[in-house]
């Protein structure tokens, strides 16, 4: 094999290995969302159970956690106790909000009756709110600071450590 071919081949292989190496170092659940650093899309959605409307604007000045979930999502069952425990722990400083999409109210109420509830759960009709936030699958969680700016997003079921680490960014 002549030198130029060997050189080009080595350069291409090195570039591919470098890209692979960088990619493997990323946590697929810590998604770099284009929404991070932007104001959270405004919404006013109906609360499951009470039928009242909760307007996100009313939560200004309070760090907020918006958790998108559904009763048909198995990882959401795993995450639910983590959310409840932390909502009880940080309830005075942080507002937790659940947004359920592609689901029906009866199933949500049954889920909350059986598994408990510690924060408002809102119904996202036709998934419009989820789309505006760039939600692909559930659960996905957005952390908003006091100004309503999205400071972090986590995809997948959160552990307490993950939740609290992201929460720190919102409280800062």
């Amino acid at each position: 094999m002549n030198r130029p071919v060997l050189f080009i081949g080595t350069a291409i292989a090195a570039a591919l290995i470098a890209v692979l190496f960088v990619g493997l170092g990323n946590d697929p659940q810590q998604i770099r969302s284009p929404m991070i650093g932007r104001p959270a899309p405004a919404f006013a959605l109906k609360e499951v159970g009470t039928g009242q409307t909760l307007d996100l604007q009313a939560l200004r000045d309070t760090p907020t956690i918006i958790n998108f979930w559904a009763t048909w999502c198995m990882p959401c069952y795993q995450e639910h106790p983590v959310l409840i425990d932390n909502a009880r722990l940080f309830g005075s400083k942080v507002q937790f909000v659940g947004v359920v999409f592609n689901d029906d109210e009866a199933s949500i109420q049954k889920f909350l009756r059986e598994r408990g509830s510690a924060f408002p759960t809102l119904l996202d009709q036709q998934g419009k709110t989820a789309i505006a936030y760039g939600v692909g699958g559930v659960p996905e969680t957005f952390f908003l600071d006091r100004q309503g700016i999205i400071v972090a997003k986590f995809s997948g079921p959160m552990t307490t450590d993950v939740l609290q680490a992201n929460l720190e960014k919102a409280i800062r």
């Binding site: 071919v5 284009p34 998934g127 505006a132």
Partner: protein
């Protein structure tokens, strides 16, 4: 009942107007609306599928996205505005056809570059062989 109605009237999902402004196009309806919905949805990637477009995917997220595309076209939003709206939320990942800019440009340039290098290498090799044969 009245309280329920008031509550429902207050319900407000995020609207495209918040992000891409007022519609720039003509409101579509009927067969034209359905045709354009499929055309625009075929340019969007289903976020939970493997390389499938929103037009082709049966997933609930894709169906919601397609319904939103239809609604926006019916309100007069243009293809460019609709793609911008989805790109704003999901990032450039949601566009099935990457834009010719930044690192994405490599997707278009690299195959041409590889082809060019191949042609040069093959012609160099052929020339060398011709020289050897000539001797």
């Amino acid at each position: 009942m009245i309280l329920l109605l008031i509550a429902l009237l207050q319900v407000k999902a995020p609207d495209a107007a918040q992000f891409v402004g007022a519609p720039h196009g003509v409101a579509l309806q009927g067969a034209a609306l359905e045709r354009r919905t499929m055309e625009v949805a075929s340019l969007l990637r289903c976020p939970v599928c493997q390389g499938m477009s929103v037009a082709d995917s049966p997933s609930t997220v894709a169906l919601d996205m397609k319904a939103q595309v239809r609604e926006l076209l019916a309100r007069g939003y243009t293809e460019e505005q609709i793609l911008s709206y989805f790109e704003r939320s999901y990032g450039e990942f949601v566009l099935l056809k990457p834009k010719f800019r930044g690192v994405n440009a490599l997707v278009w340039v690299l195959p041409l570059l590889a082809l060019l290098i191949g042609v040069v290498l093959v012609s160099m090799k052929l020339r060398k062989l011709e020289l050897v044969d000539g001797d």
